[in-house]
Amino acid sequence: MSKNCAYILWFLCVSVILQSCVKDEGYVEVEPDLISPVTFVLDSVPYLTLSEYNFFEGDLNGLDPVYGVLPFTLNSTLFTDFAKKKRFIWMPSESSASYVNDFSILDFPIGTVLIKNFYYNNVMPNNNTKIIETRVIYKNNEDRWSFANYRWNDEQTEAYYTTDGEVVDISWLENGVSKSVNYEIPSPSKCVTCHGDFNGGIPIGVKPQNLNLSYNYIDGAQNQLSKWADMGYLIDDFPTTIESTVDWKDESKDLELRVRSYFDINCAHCHNAEGYCNYALLRLEFKNTESLVNLGVCVSNDFYLGNEVTHIVNPGDANSSALFYRINTIEEEFRMPFFGRTLIDPDGVALVDQWINSLNINCN
């Protein structure tokens, strides 16, 4: 730029700096009202590109949330072919969710948006991070949940609204080990199969039992539920003690709590009384799995998997347990979860194996 402009700019910068350094005795700081810059007009969504929502600042693929877009996570998360997730929530101003009970999704206001980005690190050939899709669930004007999915471009500059399912071939390094997957981006009907009960579409993870954890926000660690209350996103009348799931990967936690948390987040959305597979006897929601019968322990296996698979869970013998068989296979006809994965979750399988073999129960 020209010398004159440079001088003027320098002068302005100095003035600003001097101003901010000098505090008058009578100066009262007025905090400006923080307004979320997110664009979300219910009559206009879903937008055709992810950037139109203005959820993130800077480069879109930095996933750096603007004010009002809160990152969150869950105690235990769903296995989706090793893809990593970044989750966010946003609500319109003056809107709050309310607590229902420990094990139900919060009662969210119209305009609530849940954002879930799926990505892999160390993706070949360039050993970089690739975001594959961003799934958005929002509460619409009819107080029902709508779904919108966004497919990222290879340049990672934008994600585009799509209603097509798609298979994306990805090779990456997982802890230094080379892996590859035919990653499945679901079509809308598949979304609903997991994200649905008799009444329609629903989010899955956002229950107090799963949200009750300490998250490292930029301005410090805080319990997520209390952070949401501070943001005005959650009415502050929820109990101080919440019966919660645990991080199943935390080996310091009780084995049974870990397994029940694993089942809750990987299975319970179908295996409940109003889910897609309600005709099977399993009831795998965390609140129901203190009962061994709901876990399938000592329940005989009806759906043939071979003569040796005799029970849904056979204490002490994973190989004769249908539940183990199904999480340990990639055959489409037999695998569990039904979709959402095409690879085996080795750590999850090891967990369930350990749990079944730890069961000291005589079925007779």
Binding site: F198, G200, G201, Y304, E332, E333, F339
Partner: protein, 560 residues
């Protein structure tokens, strides 16, 4: 130990004479083993294994060996859930439809059946049962795909080799709102099949069986449904109105059952001339059902028939006469429910039959007239001394495989009916050759075999010989061109009144019978002079059979 083993021990003293044993021998096919169908038109059923890169066919040879041929293909979706076979372009070689949880393909055979390629694809269907069927009865096979999580899809064949995909119905949201009271669709098929075939927004469609349940010439559809709210899992019956439209009538027919089922079996188990329905429960918490067809309304005979003694719950149920006694048994996931011939069934559980509990493809793998099973090995039916008749069809005005044709076999014991179907049970593709057991009856007892083609044509064969595979081309029995016997000449033919008979032999104690095209006797008398007066019978085509000293000769003639 499975609890049904205990039931078998109790039943051992009561095993019916008519049961058969199965011998297992190892045999594997490369890919998913799904089909047991004649793929090279030699009337011998072949084995089919499929992957996304290869169709491997084991062609059954007359000497009992198999000739293995690989056919490279390039498909996106594997046949994870089902496969069906049919010659949709009528070039003489069977084509395929199959699908996975994400999509489905139709593959077309080349001109000599040595290669296949993908010609049509649905990229968004959670495939369950697939079928080839002539939905609109225009003589060309269409293809149907059950969708687990969406309205059903189907390809309509325009007869010029073009397949058009229809998705049934579209909803504003994928879940269609409330499962029990779904939103109205925002659009619904107006071409193809107006109104679609199974359009609940969340699917629930598992086992589509195309069956002519009402005895007219068009194909009706029964959908076995499963899972979720009651509305979504209530089974559906669609009556084909014959004009390209269908009406859903499961409630009127008493088939609107909400039990969770992946497949149903359709067959005339009581030999009264119409198709009955066995509904296979897929969970141990609901029992199997048998619904007897009484003139289009189905009566629940589940308890009285004894089918609920079967405690095997999975996804394969098919009517098959395993012991060739002339009564259709039911294959249920490895159990065999033997038809006792009096409306009841005796169950032999899978632990005793030794059949695969995974189901399998059914057909005659060694051409001995007894139905075998293939699933990761050959389960060969050891048979018995009973006789059989197999019928293979070649359509001309009707679709090439004769899918949808009803075959009636009348013997002294009564009439049995079969339908040719592509895609029964849930997953597998069974032989397209129809099979009848006839017990101890022989040619002398067999009266007629009638093929009722979807086109409206009937073909009649009198007194076919037992223990063979009879192949019938549509309309072949209607022309005068081919003499049935060389040494019996009728003239004039056509005739208005007198029919003269010229034979190279004399008749001593002969009788003659005139049959119409339904196999009904019109005239029957002692054969005294060399001419017969047929002036009093209606115009039409007839058979004249002269029987002398136990030997019969038959010839066709037309009265006009």
């Amino acid at each position: 130990m499975k609890k049904n083993t205990l039931i078998i021990i109790l039943f051992l003293p009561f095993i019916m004479v008519g049961q058969v044993n199965f011998s297992f021998s190892s045999k594997s096919v490369s890919g998913t083993d799904l089909g047991l169908v004649d793929m090279n038109n030699d009337q011998l059923d072949d084995l089919i294994g499929i992957s996304t890169s290869n169709i491997q066919i084991h062609f059954q040879q007359p000497d009992g060996t198999f000739n293995i041929v690989n056919h490279p293909i390039s498909a996106t979706y594997p046949p994870s859930w089902s496969m069906a076979v049919g010659d949709y372009d009528a070039n003489g070689y069977n084509d395929f439809i199959w699908g996975s949880g994400s999509g489905a393909h139709v593959l077309q055979a080349n001109s000599d059946g040595t290669a296949w390629s993908v010609v049509a694809t649905s990229t968004d269907v959670f495939t369950q049962r697939t079928n080839f069927v002539d939905i609109n009865n225009d003589g060309h096979l269409d293809a149907f795909i059950c969708d687990d999580i969406d309205p059903n899809e189907y390809f309509m064949n325009d007869g010029f080799g073009n397949l058009t995909l229809y998705e049934g119905a579209q909803y504003a949201t994928a879940n269609g709102g409330d499962c029990t009271n779904p939103d109205d669709p925002i659009s619904i098929d107006q071409v193809g099949v107006p109104g679609g075939l199974g359009i609940h927004p969340r699917g629930g469609n598992y086992g589509s069986i195309w069956v002519n349940y009402d005895g007219d010439r068009d194909m009706d559809l029964f959908i076995a449904k499963c899972g979720d709210c009651e509305v979504r899992r209530t089974n559906e019956l669609y009556r084909n109105n014959g004009d390209g439209t269908f009406t859903r009538i499961d409630d009127i027919a008493n088939l609107d059952d909400p039990i969770n089922t992946w497949s149903s079996a359709w067959g005339d188990y009581d030999n009264d001339g119409d198709m009955d329905c066995f509904i296979g429960s897929s969970t141990g918490s609901e029992q199997h059902k048998l619904m007897r067809n009484d003139n289009g309304v189905f009566v629940d005979v589940s308890v009285a028939s004894g089918v609920q003694a079967c405690q095997n719950f999975y996804h394969e149920s098919v009517f098959v006469d395993f012991d060739n006694d002339g009564f259709l048994d039911i294959y249920v996931n490895g159990d065999i429910l033997y038809n006792d011939g009096d409306g009841t069934f005796t169950v032999e559980a899978q632990a005793s039959t030794g059949l695969s509990g995974f189901g399998g493809a059914l057909g005659d793998l060694n051409d001995d007239g007894f139905i075998d099973l293939f699933r990761n090995g050959i389960y060969e039916n050891d048979g018995n001394s009973n006789n059989y008749l197999k019928v293979c069809l070649e359509g001309t005005n009707s679709n090439k495989n004769g899918i949808g044709a009803t075959i009636e076999l009348t013997t002294a014991a009564g009439t049995q009916i079969r339908e040719v179907r592509s895609g029964e049970g849930f997953k597998y593709m069974n032989s397209l050759t129809a099979h009848f057991g006839i017990g101890t009856e022989t040619e002398e007892d067999i009266i007629s075999l009638i093929i009722r083609w979807p086109s409206g044509t009937d073909d009649l064969i009198l007194s076919p010989t037992e223990n063979q595979t009879l192949c019938v081309t549509e309309g072949e029995t209607l022309s005068l061109g081919q003499s049935l016997v060389e040494d019996l000449i009728l003239y004039p033919n056509p005739t208005k009144g007198i029919l003269n008979i010229n034979a190279t032999y004399g008749f001593e104690n002969a009788r003659y019978t005139v049959f119409d095209m339904n196999g009904r006797q019109i005239m029957n008398s002692k054969f005294e002079s060399n001419s017969i007066d047929v002036s009093n019978i209606n115009s039409g085509m007839y058979f004249l059979r002269i029987t002398d000293s136990g030997k019969s000769r038959t010839q066709k003639f037309i009265k006009n």
